[in-house]
Amino acid sequence: MAGTAGTGGGGGSTLRWLYLSAYNVVLFFGWLQILCLAIEALRKDGPASVYAAVEKPLQIWQTAACFEIFNSIVGIVRSPVSATLPQISSRLYVTWGILYSFPETREHFLVTSLILSWGVTEVIRYLFFALKEAFGVTPPMLLWIRYSTFFILYPTGIFSEAGLIYVALPFMKVSDLYCLRMPNVMNYAFDFYCAAILILGLYVPGGPYMYTYMIGQRKKALGKQKTQ
């Protein structure tokens, strides 16, 4: 089986092959589960029921993406930390800092567009990398889908994320959750509400930055195919 890893393009060890294949296969099924649960809940009980249906798997599989930050820091995968870190930390922030911490947001219709945008993107992405890492194959159709869906799913995802932060703002303002007030001996204060406004501000340059990054990735991936 180690021979397949060689053709996979990484040229790494068996351990690397095993780790990356397992990671991508597991995450593929994890996100497939989220997506199926979301669609089922949406059909049965409407948008307000989506969050309750996906909560646990969403928290588990989205948190598992921390491995991806680790992978790019250590250099197991080629994607730069400057791309994985903002993407995954913003996802974790919305998953734990908004949806988990402020239940008032959970029935908003933006949760549906959020889960569908994330879900479809991740199912395609993990399937793509699972096939690539485990068997060294990249079906052209899948490659094209992997590098094209973001044209729509990135804006909808980013808009849903930012929208939900905005929806949570009034609840943060009246809550003391995660806040630290002065006076204290280390002269430090933290206000979750102010932090959220700052983070919303970061979406303004961050969104276009990630979008152009993906356009660049698309050119690289699809351009290479043509010359072959």
Binding site: M182, V185, M186, N187, A189, D191
Partner: protein
């Protein structure tokens, strides 16, 4: 000699190429390119020779050298890269330091801004807060004055994007620290600790000024001249004594003011300076290896005696 100036995509940067005397220097070539494309002043230009087979990094045509050292014959190709708009180091430093110098006093003199954050108006000003204002303003004034009257820069320039990046770092950290030190609910530390902290800060800043004078004298007034081993005062023990004293000044400031914001700035600045110091130490050891008549770099601490 005749040189074709090509971009990396193979396009001609100067139409028809450049004609130069055989003893021309790299700088003459850059001036000649500047003459025909007015946008590309010499500091913006990076000139290299085309890659030869098996070569990974291209040979860079360095300022001050003769073209003959790189090029044989009368006709050759030179690759041109636009480095983008450049600024001098004194401009970069000035904009970095002017932010903290002007932003900090706003938080001290206009306590009303805290009411916008839903906080009460300051009832009393602690001694530590006033001294902190003096220490901060003195520090950044010193850095700006040193930039113009002490430091001697090489002719190197910095891309303009560094100005934005570094200003974002210095300005936001300056405001962040000022916000907490001048906070209406600020808790000062004991009087002895305040005095010890500011005393350390003042001593460290004077020592830091002296290290900058020593470094200035290593460089010839025209910015040229070779690399030298720093000597005298703390440099006899530490390679980057200028960073050591800078860090001690911030340690003193933090002992006196005690804020998480200030300590996090200290940690990040310390980390950045440590990386620079390791680079400089390595470069000095490599340059002065004691072989073929070259001086041998003495055994010294890098930045933090007795640890590093």
């Amino acid at each position: 000699m005749r040189l074709d100036i090509l971009s990396r995509s193979g396009r001609e940067v100067v139409k028809g190429g450049v004609e130069l005397q055989d003893d021309a220097t790299v700088d003459d070539l850059k001036k000649e390119i500047y003459k025909s494309v007015r946008k590309f002043y010499p500091a913006r230009q990076r000139l290299t020779l085309p890659l030869e087979s098996g070569q990974v990094r291209p040979t860079v045509l360095e300022s001050g050298k003769k073209l003959k050292e790189y090029i044989e014959g009368n006709h050759a190709k030179v690759l041109f890269k636009d480095l983008g708009p450049q600024v001098g180091y004194s401009t970069l430093f000035f904009f970095e330091y002017i932010g903290p110098l002007l932003l900090y006093p706003i938080f001290y003199f206009y306590p009303a801004i805290y009411t916008y954050f839903g906080l009460p108006l300051r009832k009393e000003v602690h001694q530590a807060q006033t001294w902190a204002l003096y220490a901060w303003s003195f520090h950044y004034s010193k850095r700006i004055l040193e930039t113009f009257f002490v430091h001697r820069f090489s002719h190197a320039t910095s891309p303009i994007s560094n100005v934005y990046r570094n200003c974002a770092y210095y300005w936001s950290f300056g405001a962040f620290i000022a916000y907490f030190v001048n906070h209406p609910l600020y808790t000062p530390v004991g009087e002895k600790q305040v005095m010890f902290g500011f005393a350390l800060s003042v001593v460290a800043q004077m020592a830091n000024f002296y290290t900058h004078i020593i470094l200035k004298n290593l460089r010839a007034p025209d910015g040229k001249g070779g690399y030298q081993i720093p000597k005298g005062f703390l440099f006899n023990y530490i390679t980057c004594a200028n960073y050591t004293t800078e860090i001690y000044q911030w340690i003193g400031f933090n002992i006196a003011t005690q804020t998480v914001a200030g300590y996090s700035f200290l940690a990040i600045a310390g980390l950045i300076m440590t990386m620079w110091a390791l680079g400089k130490h390595k470069r000095l050891r490599r340059t002065f290896d004691g072989k073929e008549g070259r001086a041998k770099y003495p055994r010294r601490w890098v930045i933090f005696p007795p640890f590093l």
